[in-house]
C-alpha cells in the first residue's frame, strides 16, 4: 500500500523554477532611482546653476575630465540612467504590446539602441584625451 502522509497534497503544484531576474530588476529600480536623484541633482546644479550652459566649452569639459573623479561621476550617471530608463521602457512594452512578435521586435530594438548609447558614452569617457 502506498504510504501517504496525514494530508495528501496531491493538488499542490511542483515549485516553479523561475529566475530571479524580475526580483533583481525591481530592486535595481529602487536603488538606482535613489542614486539618480542625487547624481542628476548634482549634474543640474553644476551645469545650470553654478555655471551657465551658454558658457560651457571644450575647455570646461576637458578640465572636468582631467580628474578620474568627474569621469566616474559622469559614467555612473550615464550607466544608471540608461539602465534605469531601459528597464522602465521594457516594463512599459511588456504591459502594452500584447502581440508577442511586435513585443519582441520592440524589446530588441530598445536593447540595441540602449547598448549603442551606453557603449558610445563609455568609449568617449574612457578614450577622451585633451588636445592642447
Amino acid at each position: 500500500m502506498k504510504n501517504t502522509t496525514r494530508t495528501d497534497w496531491g493538488r499542490r503544484q511542483p515549485p516553479v523554477s523561475s529566475s530571479n531576474f524580475e526580483l533583481y530588476a525591481w530592486f535595481f529600480m529602487r536603488v538606482s532611482g535613489l542614486f539618480l536623484v542625487l547624481l542628476a541633482a548634482g549634474h543640474m546644479f553644476i551645469m545650470h546653476v553654478f555655471n551657465d550652459t551658454l558658457n560651457l566649452d571644450y575647455e570646461f569639459v576637458a578640465a572636468r575630465w582631467d580628474t578620474p573623479y568627474w569621469r566616474t561621476f559622469d559614467w555612473l550617471l550615464l550607466a544608471l540612467s540608461i539602465l534605469h530608463g531601459t528597464n522602465g521602457l521594457r516594463i512599459v512594452m511588456h504591459d502594452n504590446i500584447s502581440n508577442k512578435l511586435y513585443r519582441q521586435i520592440a524589446l530588441y530594438g530598445l536593447y540595441f539602441i540602449s547598448s549603442a548609447f551606453f557603449v558610445l558614452g563609455t568609449y568617449v569617457l574612457i578614450a577622451f584625451v585633451r588636445e592642447v
Partner: protein, 231 residues
Amino acid sequence: MDIKLNILRYNPETDRKGHWEEYLLNADPDERILDLLHKVKWFDDGSLAFRRSCAHGVCGSDAMLVNGENMLACQVLVKEVSNPIKIEPIRGLPVIKDLVVNMDSFFDSYKKVMPYLVNEEEPGERERLQSPEDRDRFEDTTKCILCAACTTSCPVFWTADTYVGPAAIVNAHRFVFDSRDNASKQRLEILKDVNGAFRCRTAFNCTTACPRGIQVTKAIEDVKRETLTIN
C-alpha cells in the same frame, strides 16, 4: 426617486458585441444597486443575467463596474452613486452573458499560489498555536472573499491576462506570513516569475476597489520585499 439605469447587455446567441440598454425605475435612496437589478429582472426584463448569492457583501458574487468603479452591487446604496447609473461587467475577463463573466482564469491564478495551509508536521496534542502578534501579521488578507474586484480593476491585468493578479497575491500573502505554514518559499518562488508579484506597477486601483478594505497594494509590496529576503 427616479433612477435612470444603463446596463451593458450582451447575449452571446444574438449579439456580436455588447450594447447599452436603459431602464427607468423608481427606487428609494436607501435601496441597494442589487435591488435595482432585481427590479429589472423580476418586473421588466427576465433575460437580464447577473450573479448574486448572499446579497450581503459576504459571498463576493456580485462584483460589477458601477459608474466606472468596481464594487459589490449588494453593498452600495442608490444614494451613494450618481444618477444615471451605469453598470458594466468587471473588466479583463471574458463575458458569458450581460454581467456574468467567466472566472476560470481568475481561480486558476488563485490555485496556483497554493492558497491553503501547508504543514506536514504533527500538530501535537491540540491545534497549532499562534501568538496574537503572529496572527496580526496577516489579519488584513484573511478578509478576501474572492470577488475579483481588485484583479479586474488592475490595468496590468486588463492588458496582460497572464498576470496572476492582486487577488492571487493577497491570498498568497495570507499564508506566506502565517507562522504555522511551511510553504512560504514555494509560494514566493511562484510569485517571483515575470507574471507574479513584480508585474504589479502600484497603480492602487485594487486597493480602491476592494469591498473589504484590504490594503491590497501594501500586501503585494510585502510579498515583493519578502521575496528579496529569501534570495
